[in-house]
Structures are given as C-alpha cells and as structure tokens.
C-alpha cells in the first residue's frame, strides 16, 4: 500500500469519525476535530512562514540597506513588531498603530471593492432590469430589493401609549422584504446542502468507488 492509499484509509477513518457526531458528541468526533484543527493551524503556520515571510525577507531584507526594497520590506516588519506590543497592556498603545494600519488598509480596500464591485453594479443591474422584455423580473427584483432594505429600517413612530410602531406601509414593505430574505436564505441553505451532497458524492466517487473491486 503506497502512501496515497494510506492517506485514503486515514481520510476515510477520519470521515467516519466526524460523521459519528450524528450519534452525539463523542470522543471520536472530538478527536477528529482536534486533529483537523491542529493540522490546519500547523499548516497555516508553515505556509505563512515558507510562503510569506521567507519570500518577503528574501526579497526585501536580504542585502540590507543595499537592497532597494529594504525600507519597504521594513514597513511590514515594523508593523508586525508594533502588533506584538499588544501582548503587554502597558505597551499596547504602540500596537494600536499596527492595528490601525491593518484595519485601515483592509477597510479601505473592502469598502472600495464593495462600493465599486457590489453596490454600484447591483444598482445598475436593478435599473437595467426594467426592460420591456424583463418587466416582471425587474419588478420583482425592484420590489424585493426595496422591501429588503425597508425590512432593515428601524425607524418608527412613538404612539401616545409609548409604544413605538412603524407605519403600516413600512411594516408591509418590511414584511415583504422579510419574505424575500427568507426565500434567499432558504435558497442559500439549499445550495449549501446541495454543495454538501455534491461533496459527499464526490468523496464516494473519488474515494470509495476506486476501492471497490475492479474500481
């Protein structure tokens, strides 16, 4: 039995151990989970070091100041050192600089990507939905979008009794938007299940069928 078959048997056993959770929380399930978590953490550490740090240091720091990328290469190193100050409560303020930098850059990239890649395209797509050939879809898309946004509206009117209530149109639109959300989440959930089933069938086809005689 070669190494691939050994890995296949190990994978099959670990899969059964994970599926044992159907009978309840048990030691085999926890053992398999702990193995996967530990292996994933170790793998990420190794990948981060071998695939990120070492190439980066080779690219920027090796050669010192003679390396033209040394200063740029020191920036992520400096930010990383600042993040280490977060370990100490007394010096955590210095780590805030690294956090601010990371969050700032990440937020900026995400916001710009969301606005440019999601909101504007979606708005443009909805607007374009109202075509003579696609009136119904466009209407449904428009109503669904508006009602879904109204559903996340938390504005209301305070009644004399002190109760805060939304106007009836808003409540109705929110109710319709809630319906769209339910359908969307249901569909997403169904797709997740379908994806899982596909994965399971893939395991059967790719892992189990080759093990059958003549497979």
């Amino acid at each position: 039995m070669n190494l691939q078959n050994v890995s296949l048997v190990a994978a099959a056993i670990l899969t059964v151990m994970v599926f044992s959770y159907l009978l309840g929380d048990n030691f085999l399930y926890r053992l398999a989970i702990h193995l996967f978590v530990g292996a994933a953490a170790g793998y990420i550490l190794i990948v981060s070091v071998e695939s990120v740090l070492i190439p980066w240091m080779q690219l920027t720091l090796i050669g010192g100041f003679s390396n033209p990328n040394f200063v740029i290469g020191m920036v992520p190193i400096l930010i990383g050192v600042l993040l280490l100050f977060k370990v100490s409560p007394r010096l955590s303020r210095f780590g805030n600089l690294g956090v601010a930098f990371v969050l700032g850059v990440g937020g900026a990239v995400a916001i710009w990507g969301a606005v440019a890649g999601t909101l504007l395209p979606l708005a443009d797509g909805v607007a374009r939905a109202f075509t003579p050939a696609n009136v119904v879809d466009g209407f449904v898309l428009l109503v669904g979008t508006i009602c879904t946004l109204v559903y996340f509206t938390y504005l209301g009117v305070r009644r004399p009794s002190g109760e805060v209530a939304q106007p009836l149109p808003v409540k109705f639109a929110a109710l319709v938007g809630q319906g769209f959300i339910v359908v969307t989440l249901g569909a997403t959930y169904a797709l997740v299940i379908l994806s899982a089933l596909t994965i399971f069938t893939g395991v059967i086809v790719n892992r189990l069928l080759p093990l059958r005689p003549g497979g």
Binding site: G117, T118, S195, I199, V203, V205
Partner: protein, 1061 residues
C-alpha cells in the same frame, strides 16, 4: 386546780407578798399590814446597774433572798457571795440599807417585774379592744405593758427597766407580778428560809470585764419603762378598765413606782465598776405600785390560775430549788369567760416572726398554746447552748410572762458571765432547754456576746425614727382602752406598739434617761409616752438575722397584717442598696390592729409568720455600730449557679472586703444580663443565635399615592429575588429539589431525528451507486450549453497557447468534491490550449490543494492521454505555477491585480516564488501578460466571489486598458452570489459555472469521458446528488410543515392565554 398546786409555800412567801395577797395558793392573804411595806432589802450587794438585768437586786428595796440551806451548795457562788452568808444567817433578814455598800444603797429599787402574763390562762383573759386602745394612754394603763413586746423579743433586756424589776427569772413572774406593794419582800423571806447567800459586791478589779459592745448594749436606754399592771388575779372578773379606774384612784406615786425601774440605771454608782456604774444612773425610785400589790383593793394575782392547770409540767426541768419552788407564784384564776383571752391575742404572731427560727417541736405544748410571741420570744431569744441552766429553767418556767419578763439573765447568761453574776440568779435550776431562735454561732462575735445574740434577735420593733413615724400616725384614741381597763390587763397592754421595744441605735450615744424629765409618778401624756417610746432599746447589734418566716407553718385564721395595718415607712431600698449583706431584722412594732372586733382566734401552735419588713430596711447600716455592721452575719449560703453546677457561697461581711472587691461589687451591680436573644427555629437562619430579630413592621400607607409607580425589576433583580425565594423555600423544597435532580438526564440521548435524517440521506446518496432503479434525476442538459456555459466555453477557447492564465483556487479540501470537477475540466481546457496556469489562492489550503490536484492531474495517464501528452506529465513551474499563498484576502487580490498592471516590486513579491519556495519562473512580462487572458476563479464561498469580483479590476488610474475578466466557477453555495455578480458585472464575470451540474455539462460537452465506467460513475454521481437533494428538499419541506403547525399551535395557545388574561 390552782389550789391543788400552789407554787408557793405560804410560809416561804415573803411578807410583802403575803401582804399583797399573793399567798395561800392564790388566795388573798390576810392583810397584815395595809401600809406599804418597805421593799425588802436584799443583802445582795449587786447593784442593778451592775447586773443590768438585775435591777431588782441593786435596788435598795431588793428583798433579801432566803436561800434554803443546802441550796447554796448547789450553786457555785463566788466567794464574795458566799462570804456574807456566814456572817448573815439565812434566817436573818436581808441586810438593811446601812449594811449595803454606798453604791448599793443609793440604788433605787424598782422591781418592775412583769406581772401580766405569768401564769395567766390566756384563753380566759379578757381581750383588749384594739380599736379603742389608746397608745398614748398613761403609762399605768396601756403603755405600761408595752415593753413586754420588745423586751421579750429583743433579748437585750439588760437595759430594760421592767426587766430589771424581774431580773431573776425565777422570781420574775412571781415577785413582780404580785408584788404590787412591797416588791420583793417575798424574796427577802426566801432568803431567810433558804439561807440565800449574801452577796457582796465583787471587787472592782475582779469585776467582769464586760466588753465594750456589751457595755454599750447594757447602757441602752429603755423605751418605755412602764411595767404592766395586771389586774389582781384574785379578782378575775375585774376588767382592765375597772382595774385601771381603781388604780387611777391611787396616788400618782404609785404609778411612778412602776416606772421607778427606769431610773434604776440612773442611780450613781460610787463603788460599782465603771461598766456597771454606766448603767446604774437611775436614782432610787419608789417601788412601783404594781409591786405594791398590797394596796387596798388591789386584787392579788391568782397564781393558780396562772400556773395551775394551764401550766404544764416543765419538761426536762431539773428540780427546782426549794426556795424557788416556794417562790413559784400561784397560778392565777382564769378570768371570766366573758372576757377575751390572751390566746386570742393577735399581736403575738406579729412578734413571733422573730421566733420562727425556733423549731415548733422544741416549744412546749403549753407554750405553743399560749401566745407565741409572749411565750416563745424570750425563750427563743436565749441561746440554747449558751444559756445557763438557770436561765433555761427560768425561760421555760415562766414562759407566759414575756411581756414584762425581764430577761437580764438571758442577756448576760453565758459562760463568760462571771460567777458572781451567774450566781445572782441561782434560784432557778436548769430546766427545759430553750429552743434557739437564731444561730448566733454564725456571728463573729465573742462568745459572751453570742449568748446575747438570740436575745438581740428578738423583734425589736424598729428604729426609733421609724417607730416615731408610725407611732405618731396612730389614732390618738387613748380613751378607748381606758374605757375597759379591766378587759386589758397590764401584760396585754404591753403589746401596744407604744410599749414595743423600738430598735435602738446601738452606736448612738446613750440618751440620758434623766433627760427625759418625765415625772413617772403621774399619768404620762402622749408626748411623754412618745418620748419614752423613742428611747432606743438596747438591742444587741449582734443579733442574728431574722430568718424568713415560713408562712406554711402557720394556720392563722386571719391575717395579722390586715389587722396591724401597714408597716411604718422604712427605707428598705435605701439600706438594701448599701450592702447586700443581710442585716438583723427588727420586728416591726405594729400598732394595734384596727379591727378590734375581728375574730381573735386561738393562737396557733405555730406562730404565724407575720409580714416581715425587708431585712435590710429595718435598720440601716448607719444605725448600727461599726462593729455590728462589720460583724453582720452572713446569711445562708448564697446559691450560685454556674451552669448546671449549683454551689453555695458564704458571704462575708462587707467590712471584710477589700476595696478592690467592693469596687468590683459595685460594678457587678451595674451589670445587666443581656436579654435572651431569639433563636429562630425555621428558615435559613435556623438555630443561629444572636440574629437580628425580625421586626414585624408593616408600613401601610394611609392614603393612595398620587402616582403609582410601576415596580420594574430588572433581570438581575429578578434573579436575586429568585435566589432569596429559593433560599427560603430550601427546606420545604428539599425533597422536590432532590427529585428534580434525580430526574436530570445523566447523559445526552441520541437525537433520533438527526439520525433518521442522516440515515435517509445516506440511503438516498448511496442507492444510485448500487442501483439504477432509483435514478430519478434526469441527465443534465448537455444538448446546448447555457449562456453562461457558452460564455465560458468561448472564453476558454479564446486563450492563446502559452498564455499564462491566472487561476485562483479559492477552495480547500472541503470544497474539492464539488469544485474539483470544474477545476479539472477548466484545467484540461487550459492545458489543451497550451496555456500556463498560474495558480494563486488567498486560502492557505487552496494553494496546497491546487498543488496536489495538479500533481495528480499532471501525472494521470487518462488526463495526459486526454491532453495528448502521454508520458509528458505536467511539471510545476514549467507547465503550471502554483504560487504561494496570498495573504490579506481582498488586499492580496488587490496586490495581484496591481502586480499584473504595475509589475515592479509587487509583481516580484507575489509572483517571484511558488508554493514550494522556489522561483516561479515567471518574469515581469509573464505577469503583465496575465492581463490578456481571463482569470479563472474557482470560488467556494460567496466571499471569495465578492473579493475577486470587486478587487479584480483594472486600476482606475489606468485608462485605456482592457478590464480584466473573470471566468467564474463557483460552488453551489456561492451560486446566488456568482449569478448576481455575473448579472451585474457581465463585462467582468464570465459564466458562472456552478457545481457538479455545470461540471458535468462542461465535461459532457467539451470533454466527454473516454471510458463507460467514467460516464456511468458521472451519471451515478449525478443521480446520487440529485436524489440526495430531493430527499433533503423533502425533509426540509416536511420539517417546514411540522414547524408551521407547531407555530400555529403555539400562537393559538398564546392567543387563548391572552384572551383568558
């Protein structure tokens, strides 16, 4: 009866008695001499002051004692007493006054012997009318008998004049009772008969060294010197009033004679000892009239009636000397039946409280039947152990004469009494033992004084001051008893409070009796009587504490307190606060009861314990001399409880305490024991002491509040309330809690619904691989690709050979089952086109999975055959490049885009090395060439789709360049997002290809399997996935229906409950 038992031999009686008619067995003797005979002078050189208790001896009129021959041998007379005996024959009369020493000659003779109760049948005696008694009456009527109370009970009779008149107990009731005229003449006759020794005054150096305390006691003045004047016993029908009237007709000097004894002590004593001279300050006084019983018309006492029938034989009495037997007075005749008797006297129980210590059994029956106080008091006051025999005999023989009975011998009769003094009362041999009224042994006093203690313990009424108060408050109705003089004999009048012996102040200076300046020869006025009454009695300070009276031992038919009225105000609290040590109790001299007509019954055998004034209130400490206060006896052991142990602690006198102990004692008084705390028996604080008491205070508002604020309890408060409730209900709910705990599941049971669903899904997924009978799914439409598929096909077909194509593996091993098929079909097309896949991934495991997938795919013979690269496996960094992991997600994608468009450092950092750390072999040009081919994005999640759809854009700063495109292949889970971005970014996103369905279509259309088994396996997988999705859909639907029904039920029940509320 009395005639049968005469106490006197007629021939032995003195002449003065015979003249007085007290002779011949109680019958009046033939008057031989109507004139008042001169009191027989005794040859006894003893002055009254010397004896103190023997005033009759030191009086000049003291009759000569005739002691029978041989009788003197029975006594141990001192030499000085025996010496005159030889010189003076017994038959000779007592030496005249000339023969007496000067101090003796100057001594008056005032034998105010009590005569009232001696030998009187109390049952037959008339009863006084107490309501009408005049306490301020003249001394010859009522007050004359007053000293009987105090004297008989005090025991300190040394200074009592009426005692002095009958110092010898043997002749006290006799000579004093009937000697109304000639006093002790009978005694002088006795001397002749019995050849009594002639006493000589003891030499001064040999005089008994009377202690100072005794001296003071002896020097105590007497309150009321009047001696009782009983009616003549020979005339029993004579009432007191009649007798009084008769007596009032006599000269005032007769009355004064009765008080002559008061001044006996005032007689100067030239040759007597100092201690004795201090007592004898009274000058000679004439013989009281009561002694002059031979006065015309004065009835003689019937000694037969007094000592006849009612006088029981003396128990344990030693044979009396003949002279004493001869001197025994005849028992008087019982009074008329119509008069009240002394046994009904209710005053006696009042005094009897001091005699409670005497055991009733020790009291003779005849004595118990008689007035307890009058009879037992003088007996009990004498110490049994220390009283001389002669005194015992005296007390037992003359029990019925306590009223005026001088108990001088008792006060001084002890072992320490000198012989000469002891022999002065030799006439009475030891007889009945006298019950002890107290326990003088407890006192820390000299023996000689201890003998006096019982006498001192007699209920001396009160401090003079207190006596004044109550006495002054008495109704001044002196005429009432005077109205019936015959009904109240003198001895009975002695019970009047005015004649009671008030408690003297021992330490106080002796008030001079002469200072009274009272003419005793005339009837005394009320003020004078008060003055006399206020004279302190020489009470022994060492008197033992009066024991609490046992009320259970009495059976009186009436309450004496009610008759006697309230006690005079006595500062009891004041004295009790001074010291806790018990003090001598001086019986309160109560006034005559206000209920004269009350049923005066026979005196019970056991004396009724009269209400006793607080012991400490009778006499305060300042009233007592220091040595008495220091010698205050300790009471019975004070019980001290220390837990279950109970011990008795004997107290010590306060004076013996140290200052420190006294301070501690004062502090201890201030200590207040803490109140017992409540101990709750239930609740969480059960059996815990010293807890705060629950105050059942409920405050209820009287009016409705203006604004009713709703009590809002937060979750935290509610939890705390619940905790408190649980604590309070802990005891009650303990079994329930245990039951609940027992019902708790020991372990989680398997969820059958999950297991059932799992089993159903497994069967649905596995069944297509086992059989084709359940292939419910139709084959994916492979006849014509969809628009998305067609776009992808077109895009793939547009990639030139050798074109590096950026392939993003954004899925890991978990999504490999779904996306590996898409990856393979896409990579197969890429490799067929001769493109060079440059694989990147923002997922660490994606890059690794891609490396493994390509490694497997590149060495698969089937794949290589399909690629027309048999024996040419795909080589990394040559045929494909698996780059390293792109950190920072969207930023990593952005850095790749920047590297594609800008190259430079970012291109180097992202594309320089592959996943194995080796040089990727990509040049900057190869990176920029990536812009010419669409990027293939294999996204497992919606986030991966969004990141690539949003970030994989040409920089905005660059214009005129072709925007990069994305062939989007996503898992079924990211189908919606992929389609959304595909719809919104049609110029950027090609496709999308989603899951197994598009993979199957793509492969069927573009890469049909070469083997039938692969085609069947692909079909089975499709059927399996389709069947599983169908079953899952059904289960979800079924679950939705069930949950909908449950929701409707829940809402219905909620609405019902709301309607009920």
């Amino acid at each position: 009866m009395a005639d049968k038992r005469p106490l006197f031999d007629d021939e032995d009686l003195p002449e003065w008695l015979k003249k007085a008619g007290i002779t011949f067995a109680g019958k009046p003797a033939p008057e031989t001499d109507s004139a008042r005979p001169e009191a027989p002078r005794s040859v006894l050189p003893v002055s009254s002051g010397g004896t103190g208790a023997l005033p009759w001896v030191n009086e000049t009129s003291t009759p000569e004692v005739s002691i029978p021959s041989g009788a003197a041998d029975q006594f141990d007379f001192p030499d000085w007493m025996n010496a005159p005996e030889a010189a003076a024959p017994p038959s000779e009369p007592i030496a005249s006054a000339d023969e007496l020493p000067p101090w003796m000659r100057e001594s008056p003779v005032s034998p105010t012997a009590p005569t009232s109760t001696s030998g009187v049948d109390f049952d037959d005696l008339p009863m006084p009318d107490f309501d009408n008694l005049d306490w301020s009456a003249p001394a010859d009527s009522n007050t004359a008998s007053a000293p009987s109370m105090g004297s008989t009970t005090s025991g300190m009779t040394a200074g009592l004049p009426w005692r002095q008149g009958a110092s010898d107990p043997a002749d006290e009731p006799l000579g004093a009772a009937e000697s109304a005229d000639d006093g002790l003449s009978w005694f002088a006759d006795q001397k002749d008969e019995a050849a009594a020794p002639t006493f000589e005054p003891p030499p001064e150096p040999e005089a008994p060294q009377v202690p100072r305390g005794l001296k003071n006691l002896l020097n105590k003045p007497l309150p009321t010197p009047e001696a009782p004047r009983p009616p003549a016993a020979s005339d029993p029908n004579l009432t007191f009033e009649q007798w009084e009237q008769r007596e009032s007709q006599k000269a005032a000097g007769e009355t004064a004679d009765s008080f002559a004894a008061l001044n006996v002590m005032d007689a100067p004593a030239a040759s007597e000892p100092d201690w004795l001279s201090a007592v004898t300050e009274t000058p000679n006084q004439p013989v009281p009239d009561w002694l002059n019983a031979d006065a015309p018309g004065t009835p003689a006492l019937d000694f037969d009636a007094m000592f006849g029938e009612n006088a029981p034989p003396l128990p344990d009495a030693e044979p009396l000397p003949d002279w004493l037997n001869a001197a025994a007075p005849p028992k008087p005749q019982p009074p008329s039946s119509g008069t009240r008797v002394l046994s009904d006297l209710d005053l006696i129980p009042d005094r009897s409280e001091t005699s409670d210590s005497a055991a009733p059994a020790e009291i003779p029956d005849w004595l118990q039947q008689m007035t307890p106080a009058a009879s037992s008091a003088p007996i009990e006051t004498a110490t049994t152990a220390n009283v001389d025999d002669w005194l015992r005999d005296f007390t037992s023989e003359a029990p019925t004469a306590p009223v005026s009975e001088p108990s001088t011998p008792a006060t001084v009769a002890s072992g320490e009494v000198p012989d000469w003094l002891r022999d002065m009362s030799p006439s009475v041999p030891p007889s009945t033992p006298i019950p002890s009224a107290a326990a003088p042994d407890q006192l820390d006093i000299p023996d000689w004084m201890r003998d006096m203690a019982p006498a001192a313990s007699t209920p001396i009424a009160e401090p003079p001051q207190a006596l004044d108060d109550w006495f002054s408050d008495l109704p001044q109705t002196p005429e009432a008893p005077a109205a019936e003089p015959g009904a109240l004999p003198d001895w009975l009048s002695g019970v009047q409070p005015g004649t009671l012996s008030p408690a003297p102040k021992p330490a106080a200076p002796q008030p001079s009796r002469a200072n009274l300046d009272i003419d005793l020869s005339r009837p005394l006025a009320s003020s004078e009587i008060d003055a006399l009454m206020n004279m302190p009695i020489s009470a022994s300070p060492a008197a033992p504490e009066k024991k609490p009276v046992d009320s259970s031992s009495t059976s009186l038919d009436f309450d004496l307190d009610e008759l006697l009225g309230p006690l005079p105000t006595t500062p009891a609290a004041e004295s009790t606060s001074d010291t806790s040590l018990s003090r001598p109790t001086f019986p309160t001299a109560r006034p005559t009861p206000t209920e004269p007509s009350g049923p005066l019954r026979k005196i019970p055998t056991a004396p009724k314990p009269a209400p006793v004034a607080p012991p400490s209130g009778a006499i305060s400490t300042p009233d007592l001399p220091d040595f008495v206060a220091d010698l205050r006896p300790t009471d019975a052991p004070v019980p001290l409880s220390v837990g279950p142990i109970r011990v008795g602690v004997q107290e010590v006198p306060l004076a013996q305490l140290t200052d420190q102990l006294r301070q501690l004692r004062e502090r201890a008084r201030e200590f207040k024991p803490p109140e017992p705390t409540q101990v709750s028996t239930t609740g969480p604080l059960a059996e815990i002491k010293d807890t705060l008491a629950v105050e059942p205070i409920i405050v209820q508002s009287s009016s409705q509040p203006a604004t009713v604020a709703t009590v809002i309890a937060g979750d935290l408060q509610a939890r705390r309330v619940k905790i408190i409730q649980n604590l309070l209900e802990l005891e009650d709910d303990q079994p329930a809690a245990e039951t609940t705990k027992a019902k708790a599941p020991a372990s989680a049971r398997p969820k059958l619904d999950r297991l059932l669903i799992t089993i159903v899904l497994l069967l649905a997924l596995i069944a297509p691989f086992l059989t084709d009978a359940i292939n419910l799914m139709g084959a994916p439409g492979t006849s014509s690709p969809t628009a998305a598929q067609a776009a992808v096909f077109a895009a793939m077909d547009g990639i030139p050979a050798g074109q590096p194509v950026l392939v993003a593996f954004e899925y890991g091993p978990t999504g490999s089952g779904e996306l590996d098929d898409l990856s393979r079909v896409l990579l197969r097309d890429l490799f067929k086109k001769g493109a060079k896949p440059v694989i990147v991934s923002t997922n660490p495991s994606g890059a690794m999975h891609a490396e493994g997938l390509l490694s497997t795919f590149g060495r698969s013979s089937d794949e290589l055959t399909a690629l027309n690269r048999v024996d040419k496996p795909l080589l990394p960094r040559t045929d494909y490049v698996v780059l390293r992991y792109l950190p920072a997600g969207a930023a990593g994608v952005r850095s790749v885009v920047n590297a594609m468009y800008f190259g430079g450092f970012e291109a180097q950092s992202s594309f320089l090395t592959d996943i194995e750390g080796q040089a990727s072999g990509l040049s900057d040009t190869d990176v920029k060439r990536l812009q010419g081919a669409p990027a293939v994005v294999l996204a497992e999640t919606a986030d991966d789709v969004r990141n690539w759809a949003e970030q994989f854009r040409a920089p905005a700063s660059l214009s005129g360049i072709t925007p990069p495109k994305i062939i989007l292949a996503a898992a079924a889970a990211a189908d919606a997002t992929a389609h959304t971005y595909s719809a919104s970014l049609p110029a950027v996103i090609i496709g999308p290809l989603v899951g197994l369905r598009d993979a199957t279509v793509y492969r069927t259309l573009r890469q049909p399997p070469a083997k039938a088994a692969d085609a069947k396996a692909l079909d089975q997988r499709w059927q399996s996935t389709g069947l599983g999705a169908l079953v899952a859909g059904l289960i979800i639907f079924l679950g939705m229906i069930l949950n909908l029904i449950r929701a409707l039920r829940r809402r219905g029940s909620g609405a019902t409950q709301g309607a009920r509320r």
